[in-house]
Amino acid sequence: MSATHTQGHAHDHHDDHGPAKGLKRWLTTTNHKDIGTMYLVFSLLMFFVGGGMALVIRAELFVPGMQLVDPGFFNTMTTVHALIMVFGAVMPATVGLANWMIPLQIGAPDMALPRMNNFSFWLLVAAFSLLILSLFMPGGGPAAGWTLYPPLVLQTGDALPLAIFAIHLAGASSIMGAINIIVTIMNLRAPGMTLLKMPLFVWTWLITAYLLIAVMPVFAGAVTMLLTDHFFGTTFFAAAGGGDPVLYQHIFWFFGHPEVYIMILPAFGIVSEIIPTFSRKPLFGYDAMVYATASIAFLSFIVWAHHMFTVGMPLAGQMFFMLSTMLIAVPTGVKVFNWTATMWRGSLSFETPMLFALAFLFLFTIGGFSGLMMAIAPVDFQYHDTYFIVAHFHYVLVPGAVFAIMAGVYYWLPKWTGHMYDTKLANLHFWSSAIFVNVLFFPQHFLGLAGMPRRIPDYSTQFADWNMVSSIGAFGFGLSQLLFVLVIWKCARGGAKVSSEVWDGARVHGLEWSVPSPAPYHTFDVAPVIK
């Protein structure tokens, strides 16, 4: 975006009153920057809680045989790890970035619905408090996998209603957050900022927000039906009463596949901001990137049954879902091509955000390719429910979504704090993460191809070696993330002062680089005019 602004900011005209003091600031704040910070801190906390659960899983799988936990608890760990990482870590992290950056990028003073913004956040805290508390209910926590398939999930003990209530609260929080983002983008853009002048991060979030509104109610409906099946004698998903357990799978994946894009589209947006800045070039094919994002979002609604090839469906159905899934590779390929073309003959530099963005580009593409492999219905019959699937979606979500979020944090952190972070420590965090994430997940491709099933606490000795390697990678990756906390902590407390532009030449890439660093508590009280 080559937009420039011609008017000063309100902080030039008003006294910049700071926030309230103490705990009250965080409980009652309606400021988008405060709420963004709270979302980011919350997601980091959840990242460590969910990561701790992943380490329980990998510790148990370090060698064959049962060592540390009983199988029921192992299943609880796999289930709650996934729920926390998806709904408590990745999604809130992207919402936190959206809260911080969307108003700054579109020249708005705040989100359009600031009180609802606060409510959305605290609802999320309530949701995950309940979900974590459900681990301590009689009968143990939810253990049927994050997909909550009936009839298995209906065998859950007292944790079931608590977990379902938690999902409803998290869903309501997401929907309110999505409404807020759409309303903000559609109504509070600076004069002159047409839709096709918006930064890519704003575009990807606008499309993500529509996806959220379309599919979160579907998931809420599915778990409501589970609840009534369990407590009120309905038989939506019970064959004995005329229901159909496969109906749940269809409904779940009608939500579940767009959910993948809800996590990855904002990541695309972040990477689309970072690569031009460190290539010192405008983004190649801006319009094509917007249309590719919209195409991916549309296609995400018509591919859900590729998760269900082995459930059984007519050949025509298999063909449709196979081909529609492969079609997603086209707009995704457009994006990868355009990021590469942006770097082509650019004046590249490799600061920490760029390193994470490049790792995203390579490693997300690996996850995308293994996804293409599984889109082929007859091949999926071999891979289904194996560690190959685990490797695939972790490549998409960890060096994909999580690396992009980390790239975004390293990109905007100086703008938030006014300080440059310890770049040596940040680069160490990058290299240790990039190495260990591959040690962790790449061997899982081999395990899956060799036939190791997912969601098992014990395994045949033929799988021992690669499991040990994967577990070593997991502990290395987990420890590496302590560096991330250290970098952020040090940066928040002090460091070399940065200019408003922060990165060389960043000003032409977005309005956020036109406000001082750290960004004042109130920005754009007077809207800038985009030429």
Partner: protein, 46 residues
């Protein structure tokens, strides 16, 4: 502005549009929720 910690808000016209868009989006979300449960009811009835 009565509260100095609150930034300058949107104009009246923007507020109207914000209210309208919020209402429409909330109704869409609620409608999808009800529609999917209704489809489950119809499926269960055969």
């Amino acid at each position: 502005m009565s509260d100095p910690r609150v930034s300058a808000g949107p104009t009246d016209e923007q507020r109207r549009r914000i209210r309208r868009t919020t209402l429409v989006l909330a109704l869409v979300a609620l409608g999808i929720y009800v529609a999917f449960i209704a489809s489950g009811v119809m499926q269960a009835r055969g």
